[in-house]
C-alpha cells in the first residue's frame, strides 16, 4: 500500500428536499487500502457510497478519480474504474452464476466488439477468486444469501475496477460467511471502501471513517479512532475494547446508555 490517493472527495454533500443527508465530507481513498465506513442507521453511509460510485451527483463538492473529476466522465468510463456491490440486488430471472458474473464485462464490451479471450479469462479468474467455479452453472434462485453475495463480488471483480465499493456486504449472513466475505475482499488486489454494520468488522480494515448524521466524525486506523469516547458520542453506547488474550482480533464490549 502506498499513500497516494486513488479517489478524492472534496467537501461533498447531498441533500434531498432541503434535508441534508451527507454534509461537507472530505475523504481520500489510498491505493490498495481497505477503508471501512461505519455509523449508525441513517448516517449517510449508502448515500456517500453512491456518490463515490458516481450514481448520485453531489449537491455540492467534487469527486476526483486519479485527479480527474468523475462528474465529467461518461457512465461507461466510470464503470471501468469504479464498481459498487449494493445491499439488495436481486432478480427473478433464472440466470446462472456464470451469466451473472459475465455481466461484469459490460463496460468493456460494445454492440460490435464480440466476447473475447480477455473477457473469458476475467470471468474465470473472478469465479476462482470467490471459490464459485464448481457452482458456475447453478441458477440464481437456488443460491443461499452468502453465495449470492459471493457472485455479486465476483461480478464486481470481473468488471476489473480499480476501486471496489461495498454497501454492507455482510448483511443477513451468518458469522462464518460474514468473515469469509470480509477476508475475501481483503485478499482481492483492489482498493475497497466497505460500509459496515458491525463495528467488530471495522477492526479488520486498514482505516475506518466514522459518519454521524451525514458528517465525518473521525478517520484513521481502527485502533486509533475507535475509542470509548467516540462510541459514546456516535453510537450512544459505552464500549470497552478488550484485547483477545489468545492473540486474535480485539473484542468490543458494549453497554447501552439509557439516557438517550
Amino acid at each position: 500500500m502506498n499513500h497516494t490517493a486513488i479517489l478524492d472527495a472534496h467537501g461533498i454533500g447531498w441533500s434531498v428536499q432541503g434535508q441534508p443527508i451527507v454534509s461537507n465530507v472530505d475523504i481520500s481513498v489510498r491505493h490498495g487500502e481497505t477503508l471501512g465506513l461505519i455509523g449508525p442507521n441513517g448516517s449517510g453511509k449508502s448515500t456517500l457510497l453512491r456518490m463515490l460510485a458516481g450514481l448520485l451527483t453531489p449537491t455540492y463538492g467534487e469527486i476526483c478519480f486519479d485527479g480527474k473529476p468523475i462528474q465529467q466522465m461518461s457512465r461507461r468510463q466510470i464503470a471501468r474504474l469504479i464498481t459498487l456491490v449494493s445491499q439488495q440486488a436481486e432478480t427473478e430471472d433464472r440466470i446462472t452464476v456464470r451469466d451473472a458474473v459475465e455481466l461484469g464485462r459490460t463496460p468493456w464490451l460494445t454492440a460490435l466488439s464480440p466476447w473475447g479471450a480477455d473477457d473469458e479469462a476475467a470471468v474465470n479468474q473472478a469465479l476462482r477468486a470467490v471459490d464459485m467455479e464448481a457452482m458456475s452453472t447453478r441458477e440464481w434462485n437456488t443460491l443461499s444469501g452468502g453465495e449470492r453475495q459471493r457472485v455479486h463480488i465476483a461480478r464486481a471483480h470481473a468488471q476489473s475496477p480499480q476501486l471496489l465499493l461495498l454497501d454492507e456486504p455482510t448483511n443477513h449472513l451468518d458469522i462464518h460467511h460474514q468473515l469469509a466475505i470480509l477476508d475475501l475482499v481483503k485478499t482481492l488486489p483492489v482498493t475497497s471502501v466497505i460500509a459496515l454494520h458491525d463495528i467488530h468488522h471495522a477492526l479488520r480494515c486498514d482505516r475506518v471513517m466514522v459518519l454521524k448524521a451525514g458528517k465525518k466524525v473521525a478517520l484513521g486506523p481502527p485502533a486509533d479512532i475507535l475509542t470509548s469516547d467516540l462510541m459514546r458520542h456516535v453510537f450512544s453506547v459505552d464500549a470497552r475494547i478488550v484485547p483477545d488474550p489468545a492473540g486474535g482480533a480485539s473484542l468490543i464490549s458494549f453497554q447501552r446508555i439509557h439516557s438517550i
Binding site: A53, L55, S74, R75, R76, Q77, I78, A79, R80, T83, L84, S86, A89, E90, T91, E92, D93, R94, I95, T96, D99, A100, L103, G104, T106, P107, L109, A111, T137, R138, E139, N141, T142, H152, Q159
Partner: protein, 347 residues
C-alpha cells in the same frame, strides 16, 4: 438444481433458422383460408410474384393469395415481432414481468391518438393516423410512468403492483377517451368499423400497410439486437445497470421511445392486439433462457409466427365469419397471464 440445458444458438444459426421458419409460417398463412386453394397454386403465385417463374395464374386466386393473404401475413409477422419485442424490452427495463404495451396502457393511448385523427379529424389531414397513434402512445406511457412514480414506485419503478395499477388506470382513461371521441363524432357505420378495429383486426390490411409495418418492425428488431448487452445489464435492477456503465436516461429514452413508436404504428394498422408482448417473451425465456442475445431473436421470431398463426385461426375458426385477431390472442394470453401471476406469487 442444475441449469436447464437451454439451446444456445450462435449468431450464424439464427441467421439460418429465422428466414426458414418465417418463410414456412408465411407460406402457411397464405395457404390456409376459407377459400380452398391448392398449395401448388399458392407456390406458383408466390414464385411468380417473387420473380422466380413467369407462369400466369388466374386473377382471382392471385388476388386472394398475394394481395389479401400474403399482405396480411406480412403485417401479422411485423406486428407480432414488434409487439413481442416491445413487451420484452419493457419487461427488461422496468424489471417487471407483467410489463407489456397493452397492460401499460400504451396500446390504449395509441388507439385514442388514432381515433382522434381519423374520427375527430384532429390535425386536419396533415397528421397521419400513425403520427396520432404515436403521440397517443407517448402520452399514455408518460401518464402511466408519472402516476407510478408519484405513487411511490420510485425512479427504478421497483414495485410491480404500482406500475400495473397505474397501467390499468391509464388504459381505462384512454379507452374511455377513445369511446368518448367515437360517441361524439362517429356515425353508426363508422362506430361499428372502429369498434371492430379496436379489438385488433387484420381485416382490410393490404400491401401499403405492410410497407409501413416492415421498416418499423425492422427498426424495433435492430434496436433490440443492438442493445442485447444493455438489456442484460438490467438483470439486477436499474442501479446495477448504471454500475455496469449503462447511461440510464439515454437508454430509457431510446428504448422506450422505440417501443412506443413500434406499438403506435402497429396499433394504427391493426388496432390494439393484446397479450402478444406479455406471453411471447415469457414462453421464449422458458425455451432459450434469460440472456438477451438469445432472447431477442427468439422473441421476434416467435412473435411473428404466433401472430401469423393467430390470424389463420381467426379466419377459419368460425366458418363464414372473421373473428378479430385480438380475441384469439386474448384467449391464449389471458390464461397465460394468470399462470405468470400465480407463479410469481409462489416465489
Amino acid at each position: 438444481m442444475m441449469r436447464t440445458d437451454a439451446p444456445r444458438l450462435t449468431r450464424t444459426s439464427w441467421l439460418f433458422i429465422t428466414p426458414l421458419v418465417l418463410m414456412a409460417a408465411l407460406l402457411f398463412g397464405t395457404a390456409v383460408g376459407e377459400t380452398q386453394i391448392p398449395l401448388s397454386t399458392v407456390i406458383d403465385v408466390l414464385s411468380a410474384k417473387l420473380g422466380l417463374s413467369d407462369r400466369h395464374i388466374g386473377s382471382v386466386d392471385e388476388a386472394v393469395i398475394w394481395h389479401y393473404r400474403m399482405a396480411r401475413a406480412v403485417v401479422a409477422a411485423c406486428c407480432g415481432a414488434g409487439l413481442a419485442l416491445s413487451g420484452l424490452v419493457l419487461q427488461a427495463l422496468l424489471r417487471n414481468s407483467l410489463a407489456d404495451p397493452y397492460l401499460l396502457g400504451i396500446s390504449a393511448g395509441a388507439s385514442t391518438g388514432a381515433v382522434m385523427v381519423t374520427i375527430a379529424g384532429i390535425g386536419a389531414g396533415v397528421i397521419s393516423m400513425s403520427v396520432g397513434a404515436f403521440a397517443g402512445a407517448l402520452a399514455a406511457f408518460a401518464f402511466v410512468a408519472l402516476l407510478a412514480y408519484m405513487s411511490g414506485g420510485g425512479t427504478g419503478v421497483k414495485s410491480a403492483g404500482v406500475l400495473i395499477l397505474a397501467g390499468i388506470a391509464g388504459a381505462q382513461l384512454f379507452n374511455a377517451l377513445t369511446a368518448f371521441v367515437i360517441a361524439q363524432s362517429a356515425n353508426a357505420e363508422q362506430a361499428r368499423g372502429i369498434m371492430f378495429w379496436l379489438l385488433g383486426s387484420l381485416s382490410g390490411v393490404r400491401w401499403p400497410e405492410a410497407w409501413l409495418a416492415l421498416p418499423i418492425a425492422g427498426l424495433g428488431v435492430g434496436m433490440a439486437l443492438w442493445h442485447v448487452r444493455t438489456l442484460d445489464a438490467f438483470t439486477f435492477g436499474a442501479e446495477n445497470a448504471a454500475v455496469l456503465g449503462i447511461d440510464l436516461r439515454w437508454t430509457k429514452v431510446l428504448l422506450i421511445g422505440t417501443t412506443a413508436l413500434v406499438t403506435a404504428v402497429m396499433v394504427s394498422i391493426t388496432g390494439a392486439i393484446g397479450f402478444v408482448g406479455l406471453v411471447v417473451p415469457h414462453a421464449c425465456r422458458i425455451v432459450v433462457g434469460v440472456r438477451h442475445r438469445q432472447l431477442v431473436p427468439a422473441t421476434a421470431l416467435a412473435g411473428a409466427v404466433f401472430l401469423i398463426l393467430s390470424d389463420v385461426v381467426s379466419r377459419i375458426i368460425i366458418p363464414g365469419q372473421v373473428v378479430p385477431i385480438g380475441v384469439i390472442t386474448a384467449l391464449v394470453g389471458a390464461p397465460a397471464f394468470a399462470f405468470i401471476m400465480v407463479r410469481g406469487r409462489r416465489r
